[in-house]
Point group: C2
Chain length 234, copies 2
């Protein structure tokens, strides 16, 4: 089943529970073992169906017996909180698993919002949604192709703009991360490229061994956690 524009599918118990909790689930298709969840979804149309129907609707290789058609949770730049202290910005992020993992890591690190700018993958792509493990219902997910506009909105909110850049001149472990911060994370293959120049600082996670680089989502998690930690120490 393809959801219509702006709608998306949340699959599996954890994602559907979160969708129900925030009132985003329009319609739920679930096997009878989830019948006692109906009380959670009073605003949703509930279809008690068998495994084959769920499997047919769900995109997952191993569907978990429940799937919900949800209202889009994607927001515009206006949803960027005025007092944001930690924001993750994906720029031209192409892999849906990475997009979802960035949302999950941002949520875990207590970030205030996640923004996808430039030619990034749709964070409501089924693989991305699965990788968030419910976190896309926990904080504002903003999509805006215009990175210049995103940068302007972040500057208005007076956050430091840090570029996660393997070739950056500042070691993340030496950087002052205590101020409100937006991290820019670039494309899997090409990084931020010239976009790194819009940041106040280009920050590298040092490679102590012989790996060429870190995975994008892994690097994002390290950056976000280092910021979260520095902000909480003060």
């Amino acid at each position: 089943m393809r959801a219509s524009t702006g709608e998306f599918l949340a699959e599996g118990p954890q994602a559907v529970r979160e969708a129900l909790a925030v009132g985003a689930a329009l319609e739920v298709f679930a096997t009878p073992k989830f019948d006692d969840w109906r009380a959670l979804g009073q605003a949703s149309i509930w279809h008690s169906v068998d495994d084959a129907v769920v499997a047919d609707i769900a995109d997952a290789v191993t569907p978990q017996g429940i799937v919900a058609r949800c209202l889009s949770v994607v927001r515009t730049l206006d949803a960027l909180p005025a007092g944001a202290r930690l924001v993750a910005v994906g720029v031209d992020v192409r892999d849906p698993g990475n997009a979802g993992s960035i949302i999950r890591a941002a949520d875990a690190a207590g970030a205030d919002a996640v923004v996808f700018a430039g030619d990034s993958v749709d964070p409501l792509n089924p693989k991305a949604v699965r990788a968030t493990v419910g976190s896309l219902f926990h904080l504002p997910i903003i999509v805006d192709r215009d990175l210049i506009g995103v940068v302007a909105a972040l500057r208005e909110r007076r956050v430091n703009l840090l570029a996660a850049d393997g070739g950056g001149d500042t070691d993340i472990f030496d950087a002052d991360l205590a101020q409100p911060t937006a991290w820019l994370f670039g494309n899997e293959a090409h990084g931020l490229g010239t976009w790194a120049a819009v940041a106040d600082l280009r920050v590298a996670i040092p490679i102590y061994g012989r790996a060429e680089s870190l995975n994008l989502a892994t690097a994002a998690a390290v950056c976000l956690y280092m910021s979260a930690r520095a902000q909480r120490k003060n």
Copy 2:
């Protein structure tokens, strides 16, 4: 193509280059654009073939024109270095992508070895190999099902044993990580379970937001980098 026991396939330019560099490539199948790489692979049998042949041999959805049949790089516990200061131990890690990502993150953080214990996935699984992006040729990869034996070997080498445990009582940001350390990382669904008790300390990455947990490979990267950093500060 299934490699025979102990052998495995390295796919794509980066992995094959590393395999050639350490002399692990027995046989290379490559499109003509890689012909000038033959000099790197003097010990290897070289087959100049077309894309379709590479695609047929490779497991990848988007084969990259070159694949090598390699000697196993998996070692026994004897390969654990005597002076190891940072070791990653996967316990019952089931997802090949996670196994590979742990190897990549361990390499990046400068770890001395990666061990897979218990019922862990084969780190030479094609998906795992791809996720390492060549890092499996950079440090000893040890497979030993017997976690008790692994723990004994680590204790002999006088490293602290830390369990990465979401329910652990020590916050990673408060832990003393400067000593030589082996991190135990558990199963994706069930964590370390009772195995956490064999560690000296059960250490949690705090969840500052509303995410239920971090992805295994992400958590491993944060733990390994916090250790690497603490060890280098002293």
